[in-house]
Symmetry: C2
Subunit: 312 residues, 2 copies
């Protein structure tokens, strides 16, 4: 099979686009998909300062790389969760990328160490507050990532969620008809109020498989293993099921997720904006001042509970 | 494991209801689910005359049996598609049920023979009009079933669509965000205009597996093989995928479909009714007088084309 663009020998097939690419044209294809995502979802411009959440996995390192290659001002933000060897290995991958590609391109790597800042590793914190590790981790990462972006005056926060992530999340929300979550599931969430940074997902047009191939083709080293605390079997099951549908009928994931975005766009155009609703619901957290719908935000509640457990 | 109701030895487990039943209590459970469907979706009453579409398969024969056992006035309508041995075997099953259970309960079996009425078997007709067999078959069955109900003044038409059928159809519509089809997918479609009978699906609360078990427990003989013209791999694929999700998390199908119905109910309450929209769009077919959105209805178009092909 030959490359759809330059007709030399193809290295990767993209069935849902009825295309195949050589290594060079594949890299251009990936960059082009991200450029289209940034433009069509009005994510950011060349003057904006972007903070990229990097975990050491393929998606986030690919994202940081692509943004730098496209000429954006993108710094990295890494959260060291304190999960023994896994955190050490992922931190090494992130540092290695920052040293060899990030810093030479003028980018900075910020690191937040949970054991130092929150006083204990993620596993211990979750046990202290009697909550699942993944939801504890989510609360801390979302909070600290947003805080870093706001305090250091970044214009936008970017995460490495890909098409598979978004389609799986959409399938879960649709299977349970989670209307509220459905409303908030888009590649661009505006900075609805002061204290909440704008959030974007520039990889939503690219699949997991394509991002893994991008890292291999571009010599980006990443941590392959999933977090040992496990992402939750549910997401993996949804991905498996979507892959089954994709194999039978290439393009299923993209039609599913993009079709949803199209539908949301129409809906939004004809209804009260999320922005106004959010502004009406949110006010500053009584402890830290960040916006929340409750009296105290979920991060401060979590940390207060952990402190009570330690002292009690 | 013991029966959830009477504590004797259980014969069938229903994981999504966290229940198990002996044969007698299982039959009551099935009848109860149908009674709840009829009531909650205001399908019909004891005085209404119901026409049940029977194919000879487990779902439609179970439905006819359940309606008679619950004391409803339900007649059967069978379409002989003229698909060789398959049609012969399914016709035998339907006749056998009608003779042993239907007629003794005061019910009548109507038969429409495609080869006689439309002049050729379904396969030949599809070839004549250059359309897939399944869609040709659907057009003819829907048309003749509705015509029989209207001409013979039945109050409502009932089909044997079960939870698996409806969940698979919903998944297909959601994956492609078919808004129009989504709007029309419910267990009760009102008789929107003169010439369209009301349509109901009283089995929407029961799974394929439960209906097969119901037939076995109640000695109802049915044709096991799928139609040789094939239902379409797509529906089977959606069912497979939903079964995979159901195994991991019992109740997925029911939450998915019932949750959808709940959502539609809320939506309908707050928006213009389907009824008014339909009435605005429909008018009598120029050939047969049945309601259609086009100048000539799809059945008459199909038959006109077949006649042209034969004479041309």
């Amino acid at each position: 099979m030959n490359c759809t663009k330059c007709k030399t020998k193809a290295a990767i097939k993209i069935p849902r686009h009825h295309a195949a690419f050589c290594r060079g044209c594949f890299t251009n294809f990936v960059h082009d998909q991200v450029a289209r995502a940034i433009k069509s979802e009005t994510m950011f411009g060349k003057d904006d300062r972007i903070l990229v959440a990097v975990s050491g996995g393929k998606d986030s390192l690919a994202l940081w790389n692509i943004l730098l290659k496209l000429g954006y001002k993108a710094d990295g933000f890494y959260v060291d969760l304190g999960i023994g060897g896994y955190s050490e290995r992922s931190h090494t991958m992130v540092r290695q990328f920052a040293d060899t590609i990030g810093v030479p391109s003028g980018a900075v790597l910020h690191t937040h160490t949970v054991e130092r800042e929150e006083g204990a590793g993620i596993k211990e914190l979750a046990q202290l507050v009697h909550r699942p590790t993944c939801s504890t981790c989510g609360t801390i990462k979302r909070y600290q990532f947003n805080r870093a972006a706001v305090v250091q005056e970044y214009d936008v926060m970017a995460t490495g969620h890909n098409l598979d992530d978004e389609a799986a999340r959409l399938l879960g929300n649709v299977l349970h008809w989670q209307e509220d979550y459905l409303d908030k599931q888009g590649p661009t969430l505006p900075a609805s109020v002061d204290g909440f940074a704008k959030k974007v997902k520039p990889l939503y047009r690219l699949s997991e498989r394509e991002l893994a191939a991008y890292c291999v083709v571009n010599n980006i080293q990443y941590i392959v293993d999933e977090c040992p605390m496990a992402q939750g079997a549910r997401t993996l099951l949804y991905k498996e099921v979507l892959n089954r549908l994709e194999t039978e009928s290439p393009g299923t994931k993209q039609y599913f997720y993009w079709g949803f975005l199209e539908k949301q766009r129409k809906k939004r155009a004809s209804s009260e904006g999320m922005l106004e609703r959010d502004q009406a619901l949110l006010h500053p957290c009584s402890a830290c001042g960040q916006p929340t719908t409750a009296e105290m935000c979920s991060y401060c509640k979590l940390m207060a509970r952990a402190k009570r457990e330690v002292s009690g």
